[in-house]
């Protein structure tokens, strides 16, 4: 499948490096271009050095090359994606959206990877959403019902770009929605904190789940450990920093009074493809997008094979 990445910033460039590595290993995605808007961008120069097109002509380049593209990864901003999403769809290009624009169905790679393989636009939620929704889902599948879940994401200041900073509400709202829609919580809250410590801290994520009366606590813990393994399949640096714990309340949550809460303390170390390992927030996003792109490519290939038989 021929694809391009739109956005030559940190996320776009990191994804480029991942996709080119995978192409060498005969992966299904054929990355042909990195498309930005700044001719002087470091990412574009790197794209040319790595032997693919590096252009600053922005979304116009994508639309004028629609015949040569099957899929794009959009790593621009929610505003840019919202403005262009319909045009990509009209041009027959599948869009994997790494911004919090939330136009297409949300996909969390470890939870609902195969649910929307025919959608023209797929939303990757947020980095914090990719890190924490799997754990909310892990708690949910071990309980009768999950009245309330919460995530707290702390990222190093250096790894939070201007897009995140100018529009921090998009992050919390989109993430919180994912905790309900995909994680399975009835109520939710998302919090993001920036920490400027030097050397930069690793991305940290904490998940709290309100456990109703009668919950099998051992089953919750077991489910959390199993989910850690599932996410590690595509994000090797994803790990439980401490053992998950069940704390006794009671807690007066927005979903009602619960006797206990589960606390899941996560750390995400990046693979260091473009930015240093502390920027695990970028890594989990690009690794998840790659996994979704490959799943779509596999699905389309199977469809074509079926059609040609």
């Amino acid at each position: 499948m021929r694809c391009a990445i739109l956005g030559s910033g940190n996320i776009g460039t990191d994804l480029m490096i991942k996709l080119l590595k995978a192409r060498e290993l005969d992966g299904p995605l054929d990355l042909v271009a990195l498309v930005g808007i700044d001719p002087a961008s470091d990412g574009l120069a790197r794209a040319r050095r790595m032997g693919i097109e590096g252009t600053h002509e922005g979304p116009d380049w994508i639309l004028s090359h629609a015949d040569e593209l099957d899929m794009i990864f959009d790593a621009t901003s929610a505003y840019v994606h919202k403005a262009q999403a319909q045009a990509y769809q009209d041009a027959g290009i599948i869009a994997v959206d790494l911004t919090p624009a939330a136009i297409g169905p949300k996909v969390i790679a470890a939870v609902n990877l195969t649910e929307h393989l025919d959608a023209p636009n797929i939303n990757m939620v947020t980095c914090g959403g990719q890190a924490t929704t799997p754990m909310v889902y892990a708690i949910r599948r071990a309980v009768e019902n999950l009245p309330y879940a919460e995530m707290v994401s702390t990222v190093a200041s250096k790894s939070a770009g201007p897009g995140t900073r100018q529009n921090i509400d998009e992050f919390t709202k989109t993430t919180s929605t994912a905790l309900r829609e995909i994680g399975g919580a009835e109520n939710s809250k998302a919090i993001i904190i920036l920490n400027p410590a030097e050397p930069p801290i690793m991305m940290r994520n904490t998940v709290f789940g309100g456990l109703p009366e009668g919950t099998d606590h051992d089953a919750v813990i077991e489910s959390i450990y199993a989910m850690e393994k599932s996410v590690q399949e595509y994000v090797p640096g994803y790990r439980l920093k401490n053992q998950p714990v069940i704390e006794e309340g009671p807690y007066l949550t927005p979903g009602g009074l619960v006797p206990h809460r589960a606390v899941v303390l996560l750390e995400v170390e990046g693979a260091g493809d473009y930015l240093p390992p502390y920027a695990g927030n970028l890594d989990i996003m690009t690794a998840a997008a790659q996994r979704v792109g490959e799943a779509i490519a596999g699905h389309k290939a199977a469809q074509n094979e079926g059609a040609s038989k």
């Binding site: 702390t154 900073r165 509400d169 919390t172 919090i191 920036l194 400027p196 940290r204 904490t206 401490n242």
Partner: protein, 349 residues
Amino acid sequence: MTTTAVKADYRLIDSTLRDGSHAISHQYRMDDVIQIVTGLDRAGVPVIEIAHGDGIGGSSFNYGFSAVPEKELIAKACEVTTNAKIACLLLPGIGLADDLREINEMGVKVARIATHCTEADISEQHIKVAKSLGLEAIGFLMMAHMNSPEGLVEEALKMQSYGADTIYIADSAGAMTTEDMKVRVDALVQALEVPLGVHAHNNLAMAVANSIAAYENGAKNLDGTSAGLGAGAGNCPTEILAAVSSKYGIETGVDPLALMDLAEEVVRPIMPRAQVIDRAGLILGYAGVYGSFLLHAERAAERYGVSQADILFELGRRQMVGGQEDMIIDVALELARKHAEAEATGGEA
């Protein structure tokens, strides 16, 4: 523009119903709000801040759930006040711009938009929304001891450029000496076109002295809380600030005796414990740790059988910033594991 009946030399903002919320684990009841707003309003306090301790939207597992939904409390404060303006605090990343629209409808007049002292650019969206609603917008830089005077000026200028009417620095860890305060206030007053304010904590017993020093160096707004009720070892006590200001001949426009009555008769009776500088409170100031961590660390220490002091020191060493209460559990678990490992190997615990 702000005007009060009496010409005051600085504007006093009381945060008993916001910062004080930390000290009572966010358990304010409707009746507390009615009594405290009434008392502050009668004493002539021009601005009263109310919200969850961690700002609007702070009710959560991470910071503690509010006993009464904060928006009901805020609406009541707006209803009860006669002269005082009602203010709310909001931390981008915790509260939303939509919350500002809601509180504006209730009659709130002042929005304080707070960020860590190096992250002012996450306040742009919220300051602009506050201004577009016609609210007074105050940019509030927390943990100001962690940034240099020049660094604070850079961040404050960003907030000013977004439209902030006033800039505050908060000594959230109560970690500043008077000298630390003076150099920061001095640099900011020189660089800013808008007025400066200072929010002090008392972990090093410096809150009143630092507030007076801030005024003498050009700060035009000072924060206090009744009886010092607040995060850590508490805030600058409003009634003491008013009394000391009066002794210095600084006109506050408020009645110190009425504030003393409020502290004694209304606030002290609802305090779960006296606001004193015990070991844990002092460590916050000494190690530069966010004041709101105090009670969370106390609970985690008890739950996991480790020392509260050790937790607080470790949080300081890791340079944790306001809002990272989840890391208290992380640190407590690590300390407990280290103790267990040391015992298993017969080493020193």
